[in-house]
């Protein structure tokens, strides 16, 4: 076993365990901090998929933006949640909602089954690209390649998503304004 795979497993374990803890913990504040760990672990896993820029972005956008936003929203939202914060000390782990659990396991089962059956018959394009040698290698400069691609091949989606992001942010600001302001 290589160090690479050990690290992979460590990250994977960290992500999964933290995620499990995240969904089972009662205290929302702690859950959000656990989410922070999960996102970090996920970023680590992206690295193993040779997507360094994505990992960086993940940390910047998620940890720096989304998570802060969530925490602020949570802190701002209500005293009911704060009450909840205080009353949760008794039950560190909440009882699972069994229908959801069943459904979740069912999905897991189905997916794992399909991956296993699928791994025997890989799609052709993977084999072809392996054969052509057109796979991303650790030595490749991903950031540069991505920059080119955004500016050339994916320029239209890039612009659309930019506008979309702005619309979403403006919309968010509008929705969350005080009603008195109207």
């Amino acid at each position: 076993m290589t160090i690479e795979s050990l690290l992979f497993y460590a990250f994977a374990c960290m992500a999964i365990v933290s995620a499990l803890l995240l969904v089972n913990i009662r205290n929302t504040a702690r859950a959000l901090f656990l989410l922070f760990i999960v996102l970090f672990a996920m970023a680590g896993l992206y690295l193993f998929a040779l997507a360094d820029f994505i990992a960086i972005t993940q940390i910047l956008v998620y940890v720096g933006g989304v998570l802060i936003l969530l925490i602020f929203a949570f802190m701002l939202s209500n005293k009911e949640l704060l009450n909840d914060l205080q009353s949760t000390s008794k039950h560190f782990i909440s009882l699972p909602n069994w229908q959801a659990l069943v459904l979740a396991f069912a999905f897991l089962g189905v997916m794992v089954y399909s991956y296993i059956s699928w791994s025997q018959h890989m799609p052709q394009w993977i084999a072809q690209s392996e054969a052509k040698g057109s796979i991303i290698l650790p030595t490749d400069n991903n950031i540069k390649a991505l920059g080119f691609k955004f500016m050339t091949q994916y320029v239209l989606p890039f612009e659309i998503i930019s506008v979309f992001l702005m619309m979403a942010l403006i919309g968010a600001a509008h929705v969350s304004r005080k009603e008195d302001d109207i």
Binding site: L70, A100, L103
Partner: protein, 101 residues
């Protein structure tokens, strides 16, 4: 070299955990967190498959798009949550089942 299946299994786990959070949590913020987990699982898949597409870099590009979209969705989602809370004085999705005022 980590095989593709490894990534897929891990992403499946995270996805299912996110799914569970979405279905079971009694807190809208946690549902949002669940959605983030699922998006992350998807991003992991994008990235894992993207390794085999050096020509288009589709995997990584769309992973970035997805991250952006997720951020936008969180922003909009939180705005909605705050509004909903202001209206219903709760963020328990089970108590929010009426479309009318």
């Amino acid at each position: 070299m980590i095989s593709l299946t490894h990534f897929l299994v891990v992403s499946a786990c995270i996805f299912c955990i996110g799914l569970y959070a979405v279905l079971a949590k009694r807190n809208t913020i946690m549902i949002l967190v669940g959605i983030e987990l699922m998006i992350n699982a998807a991003i992991l898949n994008f990235v894992a498959f993207g390794k085999y597409d050096k020509i288009n870099y589709g995997g990584q590009v769309f992973a970035l798009f997805a991250i952006v979209l997720a951020a936008a969705s969180v922003a909009v989602g939180l705005a909605l949550i705050l509004n909903v809370y202001r209206h219903f004085k709760t963020i328990n999705p089970q108590d929010i089942h009426e479309l009318k005022d």
